[in-house]
Symmetry: C2
DNA sequence: ATCCCTGCAAAGGGTTTGCAGACGC
DNA sequence: GCGTCTGCAAACCCTTTGCAGGGAT
């Protein structure tokens, strides 16, 4: 099963990172890692906390935030600040680089790729003498069904 | 003077918007609009509040937030959620569309333009059947001097 | 045995809200 | 004068912090 294969790889990667950084391999950290890699959505810290505590005995919010920071620093997780001031996270290992398009009405998030983004980062990095290593591109608009709804209301 | 010309246009635009929406033309709202259009930076709500109260008699935080929302809805102001959970704002009338590149160390913000962004929004809108009307592109990296500093430290 | 990590609850920082009084219309 | 906008402070929400006890090494 592909899911288990990925989980295994990710656990190994994390273990290696923790050993390098001389940090402890606690069951909480692995439980959080697994929960994240079983999901396929963009989730906030609170949702992660809630879902973990439906299954696990108990993991505190502090540990969730702590571990998210760890996972961010080894790039196993990506953090997004969409509109509001609530961060959303998603797994990022073995997952192709992508950007997001968000519906302003229903808040649906769709992922997409476009090679031109890479061209822009490369060119702008050279031009402005920045060493770019990351980017965020978000397109805001209305999805097909929400646009129809709006038209129906205004007509 | 070009500055005054812009201010005048912006005030007129705002007045028209307020009349359309049947909202009151209060001195506070105009003071906030002017303060924003005299600046050339990316500022947060608190900074705007502080600077206004150095000059004006007094304008409350609530009114600042209120008016920022008004200005956002008529697109006289743009709101950015960079990294942290503190929104930054900038004027947007008569100002060319641009994106941002941010240094991870000194947090310097540089603006740039690239026509390919427009191509991407158009193409992805068609492909995914979204009606796109806005986007955010942020490139993260190290500016030239911060990269040198890092190298100096590690060597 | 050490001392880092966890859980808890309180603090923190930015933003929003409720209410009374002020003022644009 | 009516009804909305302002100012104030408290409430809110997400996140961070401090501290004491527990578990990884």
């Amino acid at each position: 099963m592909k899911q288990n294969e990925l989980l295994k790889q990710v656990r190994e990667f994390f273990t290696q990172y923790l050993e390098e950084k001389k940090q402890r391999k606690t069951p909480e950290r692995y439980a959080i890692l697994e929960e994240i890699y079983k999901r396929n959505d963009h989730f906030d810290a609170e949702k992660l906390f809630q879902d973990l505590n439906k299954k696990e005995h108990h993991i505190s919010r502090a540990t969730v935030y702590n571990t998210l920071d760890l996972l961010l620093s080894c790039q196993l997780v990506k953090k997004h600040q969409f509109d509001n001031n609530q961060a959303l996270y998603e797994k990022s290992f073995g997952y192709k680089q992508h950007d997001h398009i968000i519906c302003k009405d229903c808040h649906k998030v769709v992922e997409f790729c476009d090679p031109r983004i890479h061209q822009i980062t490369t060119k702008m990095g050279e031009l402005l003498k920045f060493k770019i290593d990351n980017h965020t591109l978000i397109l805001y608009g209305l999805c097909e069904s929400c646009e129809k709804k709006r038209k129906a209301v205004s007509s």
